[in-house]
Symmetry: none
Subunit: 223 residues, 2 copies
Amino acid sequence: MRLLLIEDERELANALSAALSRQGIVTDHALNLGDALELTLQNTYDAILLDRRLPDGEGLTFIPKLRRAGVDTPVIVLTARNEPMERVEGLDLGADDYLGKPFLIEELMARVRALLRRPPTLEEQTIRVGRLHIDPLHLHVMAGSVPLDLPRRELLVLQALAKRNGKTVLRSTLEDAVYNYQEEIQSNALDAHISRLRKRLADANAGVSIHNIRGVGYLLREE
Amino acid sequence: MRLLLIEDERELANALSAALSRQGIVTDHALNLGDALELTLQNTYDAILLDRRLPDGEGLTFIPKLRRAGVDTPVIVLTARNEPMERVEGLDLGADDYLGKPFLIEELMARVRALLRRPPTLEEQTIRVGRLHIDPLHLHVMAGSVPLDLPRRELLVLQALAKRNGKTVLRSTLEDAVYNYQEEIQSNALDAHISRLRKRLADANAGVSIHNIRGVGYLLREE
DNA sequence: CTGCCAGGATTGCAACAGCATTACGGGGAT
DNA sequence: ATCCCCGTAATGCTGTTGCAATCCTGGCAG
């Protein structure tokens, strides 16, 4: 783990560095905001410890600067000013945590650990076939850059087909995907949906087509 | 935004819920850990506010239980015990933040905002659709350069739609975004909000419209 | 090669679930 | 006292969907 400590009091900085080092944490140290910005752009840190009072300005102003530069490393603000409203200000400027001096090294460590534990954002995965982008999580379909609004049942059919991209989907599987066990169908309703879906895909110039395997099922594939 | 508050003092809980509600946050309330666990497994919260002293046990023990159940919702611990070492203990058990009572609502809000800021990129802090600028953190909506004051529930609807800009939001998801589980609606209240919101957006010449996908949900789209 | 047929495709239609809108009134906030 | 939010319900509307009638097609048997 690697931290950037931005702190102008050398004595405190050294003590912190030493303590962190004993925990197996590597600490880079900047004495002012100018140096700090340079360091953050050249390196990647797991977290940044930021003092508010610094020779070249108020520490908090550093956070928006960082963010604008596309750096989203978590920031913990260290400060003597520990009034509630000050904390609000700090947090709203983009700090991830706020720690009033004096503090125990253990608490700092615990807060760093808490920050690092936060899960990274999980990517939403979208299925791509032809010019279609299908986002099953958000029930969203795009044909190229144009959104494709599908009625409920057609959407279900398309999703079921897309999930097994290119592979044949049994007719019965499709039926299960579109109808729950309470809903009985006694007609070719499914065929009707397929037909209507085909038309819509063609109209949208989706670049895919629904192919039938006689007696087995359907599959979705690029044209 | 939707929170779970785990707190046995009804009075405090009600006060908090009211305050949060005024900030556009929907709060579910559990009086004990048992209820809380059930709720967390049934719903998805943006964050959990957890008291330490609870009728059926120490609140902190709840966190590992949650994590084992695969729930990684951020937890903010609220407590009278605010000694540094106690805080360390809480954070190491998996809490994401720690707030000593008494606290200002503002600070709680700031800490919640800090937590929620993580997953979406910082760029997305203010959402833009058409001529609308929506700042979900500060609950502020602008149509062009004119501020648009929306009633609470309509704001919640708009926010929920905007967060998934352009993508379909399930009806049920919208309901969860606007109502907590205690508030049962047995009418088309949601439809009514949508209708009224539509009118306001049109009057404000917002350049966006709410589109319905029959049987699925709604989405927000530029005109 | 031809005819037959089961399975598939298409499409009009009517029913209905789902949606939109609006008026009303209770209740909370100012 | 006033205003506005918000839930409710009545009313009218609309697109989806199940169905069925009809047409099409591929595969197989003779």
